[in-house]
Amino acid sequence: MNLTTTYLGMELAHPLMVGASPLADDLDTARRLEDAGASAIVMRSLFEEQIEGEHDANVEHFEMFADSFPEALSFFPAVSEFAMSPDAYLEQIRRLKGAVHVPVIASLNGLRISGWLRYAELIEQAGADALELNVYHVATEARETMYSIEQQIREVARNVREAVKLPLAVKLSPFFTSLPHVAMELRTTGIDGLVLFNRFYQPDIDLDDVSVVPRLQLSDSSELLLRLRWLAILSGRCTASLAVSGGVHTAADAIKAIMAGAHAVQVVSALLIHGPGRLKVLLDGLKAWLEEHEYESIRQMQGCLSLAHCPDPGAFERGNYMRVLNSWNGRVHHATSD
């Protein structure tokens, strides 16, 4: 059975890879993920704010009190020895490349055209096999238009594309007026693929402290549906590689994503919950399903249920919406059962 897939121009043993997460922070974990069969590993994102902000913060903490009091002209060991964190990220690429044989995909997260973009080159020099560019953005200003945001995303992508030769994917959010248009425009910048989608870590409210607190909630399979829909819509229409990210917890989830058009399937939450070994469970499940259903290869099923090939495209479009509405039998749930 042929499980291989092509993602961003890279030949991968199969579509199941580790998505952007802290899982690759640790070399042992990375090795265990490789042992469990991961076809590639995406590193956690290096944030624009991290590159710029941490520099500032580190420099500030080192230099803030330097040279102001005669008995203590500094308060830390000489800084020249210490790589600041973005450099630690580059170092981690090198270490990962030394530790595992599967492709290592770095991830950069940011949306402004400024100094942090130089890190794309540094990432390439550090030996990453590909780069995922996460353009996470929450519009909070009324003067921001969809045009300006989309243009900015394209500009960032273009800048990175021009800077590096690496296979390059852009990781998007699902919230666009016309995702196919965004995808098409992005493709013109020369990027190789799209990752659907980044997850918003939405803040929560702490009622005791009357304050807003960050809350990290792992995904579950219910998040997959949104991705299936857009995979199916883009698959076949967009020539870029497609990866799904968010909501893949079972082999069945992975298979659905591939059928909707994914070339690569990124898994994170399931691995964080169950450990690196979970990847093998998914992979075994995928193989078993293919065998059971007599598929010869992954490519055979890739995109088979996309909008282009689907026997019932309406299900992914407005018709689906109608159907969902109609399936609601008008019953009202009362919150008494639990």
Partner: protein, 1204 residues
Amino acid sequence: MHSPNQLQMIALEANEAAASVAHRLSEVIAIYPITPSSAMGEFADEWSSQNRPNIWGMVPRVVEMQSEGGAAGAIHGALQAGALATTFTASQGLLLMIPNMYKIAGELTSFCMHVTARALATHALSIFGDHSDVMACRQTGFAMLCASSVQEAHDMACIAHAATLESRVPFMHFFDGFRTSHEIAKIAMLADDDLRAMIDPAGVAAHRQRALTPDRPVLRGTAQNPDTFFQAREAGNPFYLECPGIVEKTMDRFAAITGRPYSLFEYVGHPQAKRVMVIMGSGAETAHETVDRLIRDGEEVGVLKVRLYRPFSVDRFLAALPASVRSIAVMDRTKEPGGIGEPLFLDVVAALYEGQAAGSSRFAKQPMVIGGRYGLGSHEFTPAMVKAAFDELNQAHPKPHFTVGINDDVTKGSLPVSDDFDIEPDDVFRAVFFGLGADGTVGANKNSIKIIGEETDFNTQGYFVYDSKKSGAITISHLRFGPRPIRSAYLIRQANFVACHQFQFMEKFDIVGYAKEGGVLLLNAPFELDAVWAHLPREVQKQIVEKKLRVYVIDALRAAREVGMGGRINTVMQTCFFAISGVLPRDQAIAKIKKAIEKTYAKKGPEMVRKNFAAVDGALSHVHELAIPADGAIGQPLPPTVPIEAPDFVKNVTAMILAGRGDLLPVSALPVDGTWPVGTARWEKRNIATDIPVWERELCIQCNKCAFACPHAAIRAKVFPAESLAGAPEGFASTDYNAPDLRGMKYTLQVAPEDCTGCGICVAVCPAKDKSMPKRKAINLAPQAPLRRREAENFKFFLDIPEIDRAKVRVDVKGSQLFQPLFEFSGACAGCGETPYIKLLTQLMGDRLLIANATGCSSIYGGNLPTTPYCANHEGRGPAWSNSLFEDNAEYGLGMRLAVDQHAAHARQLLGRLQPPLDEEFVGRILNADQTSDSGIAAQRTLVAELRRKLASLNGSPEAKQLALLADYLVYKSVWIIGGDGWAYDIGYGGLDHVLASGADVKVLVLDTEVYSNTGGQQSKSTPIGAAAKFAAAGKSSPKKDLGLLAMAYGNIYVAQVAFAAKDVHTVRAMQEAASYPGPALIIAYSHCIAHGYDLALGPEQHKLAVASGYWPLYRYDPRRRAAGQNPLQLDSGAPNNQLQQFMVNETRFRMVEQKNPDRYKMLSEKARRQVADRYALYRQLAEPSAGQTQTAAVPPPTAKVRT
């Protein structure tokens, strides 16, 4: 010999220059940090951690010890075992090495140490330079080689290391603290090959052959008896006789290799000089410069620079003096009270006498010799002072002993000095920069002087003057460069270029006074160009006009912000300096600044480089020349330094020091014994906060947590009757007090706007939020400037509201803050984590406190002049505070306790004897008074006052008179011993342990920052696993010493571990319990610190995390509980909650380990996690009630009702 183009010319400071040689010529380096030598040890440690080898290809082993005594012991051992060893120290640290120095010398051990000569603490501590410390070692048998400049510190280090191997006499190489140790100059560096050529392998081999080894066993360190000790002591004489010759030979070899000739005594001046000055250290350079000038003016003078001071070679000294000399002024940078003269003076007199007696004198007539003292504690020593000494030699009857540089109007020993004698040649460019500690001015100037040094053929000099305050500190950078060697070892007084990087300094210091006529003033001003002139004080405007200065103005903050540099203006100002001064062609200068920026920030990331480049490029478009208006001085006159209502002493003395004119104070103005008035900090209105807290009374829940946490006593609460509001300024805010026990009273929370540092801790701890806008709290920060005048008036009114009757207040967190803090407005860092504990202590019991304070941060912000933060209450009572040394603080406090107890016992005895004339019942009341509470103390004070009245009526009975002197000791005094972890865990631990074990009624407060904060972040035994510190750059791998557990092991010591912002009520309770415990008590206080590396406004959050994660467990161990059948140990915080990682990653000291070596960090943080868990488990086990014990939280009342 090197040709000049082979020479590597580098601009560096003498500490680095000396350490560079010492590190390359040593195998074992044992050190202990002490100013101003700390940097040498830090450089050595840094190089070794980078695996930089010595000239034999081995990386020297650097070890930080627990004291200088420990370092000397370790060195002694290393030397005896055959290693080449070195150490670095100064001042009191050097004194702690003396016992081992005698041993090392007595055993004729090849060894070279490097000393930054520093004043010894006498009437006061001084971190600055003079020769008191090295002069205290001249009898140890060490050779003493003095360097006068940065280049010499490099060269003499090499000569000393080489000479000791041949001579077997150990060497102390020394140079002036700060003036030389911290001066940056361009010097020729010795290459490894130069050092190899200087070090005789035979000497190294011989040293190794003398090693103690079981392979060739011998015995050293015997005890000798009256029959042989004397002869054996004399047996080493030949080595001392040969030593000067060996040094001379070594200097000759050095000259052959480097082209830099030196001699034991170097004469410079007129070949037929009549008058000669003998001097050593940096002052010799100033004298050299002055002599050159005086000779050009036609005078016959010269200077003899002393390099090898011990062994003192009389022959060579006499030979170095011109035969023509008639009179000699010997200059000593030390004081020997009660001596005939200072050491160098006596040596010179004796040498001349010996020469004459031996008939070897070349002088027609024995020269007259006078001795002078100069430059103690880094006091300035200028050409005018050199000239004054020469002038004195011209007098018919010169003063045999004099001082120069001060006005001694008491014993009239000082020489008059002419202000006009300025000899700096026109070809020396001089620039002075005024900056704020945090604004990067010094860093940029260090950078500039290196650029100029490396890009031009100019000789360069950079010297930096710092503030004694740790927050809002001023820095003054003095930069010189010119075509000839720069020998000016004194501050610039007439500069071509003066820059003021902080506009507010124009009001505080005479900055324009530094500018020479026709010079340039660069001013950073936060105004539009056309508004700048009007903002300058009138006196400043006048000087600008009179001196015809060209003034350039820039709004550097705006320029920096525009390019995303935040408040960092250093690059902008540095660019302006180069652009305006024209030191280098503009393009070349800019290219070089950029190169330096890349070098500095390359490791820290391209973004920092990019922003700095943008700052360079943007700076020039913001700087403009100011047109000086024709009508000249139109500004406001300068405000007085201190308010007119300040006491005379503050106006006459403190204000002079504050204005930077302290060196003009005459001797008579200063206390004779170092005694200083308290409470003077309040008169210095520093106005350093950009933003200050503003109280929202309708939101306030009156918890007083803000006042509790304020490190500077700048936010205060008072409760008072409504009638006290009569005459309140308009807008003075108050509200109804909300506690049921004081119903009807008013409450005010008041900010001291001009004393606040703007750290924001008060806002961070405020729990009261606006319900509809939670961002708004009961206190919020707002810009200071618009509030300043109004709030200053309010604060003044607030201070005059009578303090509340202490008896009416419940002493808890809230209540404690209604008491007057008797520690206010210290110069501690903004947001300091130590001072809230001290402030609380003074609120709880300040009126009966004696404090023994170890040297360190707390002694600096507690007692570094000009101002004093400890103060007295309206009755005139307050903490009596003193600092003895670093190492002896526990003993010092014990001594205070013993004295107070003796006085009290004596008073009680006298009182007993006076029972008949006095009322027996009255005496009984005094003797048996319960003094365990505020009200008990107050009642006893009333009784003692009555006693005094009764005693006065006893008409001169001797016993009554004696008792009158001692009566105040019938009121209990609380003795507290305060210091940091460097003291308690390391250097003072032996004494602390002994004093705690003594059972004496002393209370110890350890302000634990887990690092040597005052000297700049060296590790202590309190430093935790995983934290980077100096000497633990890779992250400390051993756990923090458990001081509390060690003390608990005695069983009779009250021990508590507290963290004020994690559980304030616990801190208050611990302090009260410690105070009431009739025996020794130890409180270990978690103190956040700038050496942890995060915004200190987040300190309270870190306290909470520290406690919740188990990093800093809270507990109290109260031996009194045993009597109630309870376990003495109560664990007051819960089990570790898995937030240790979070706690650690918030702090740079841990994060830098993670960033440097993630695997090591992972290992260390896992070790830390286990240690935290194990420690908690151990504590929990210890706190478990054993059979027969009950576990209730109640603390029994103090057992001793009466304390004597």
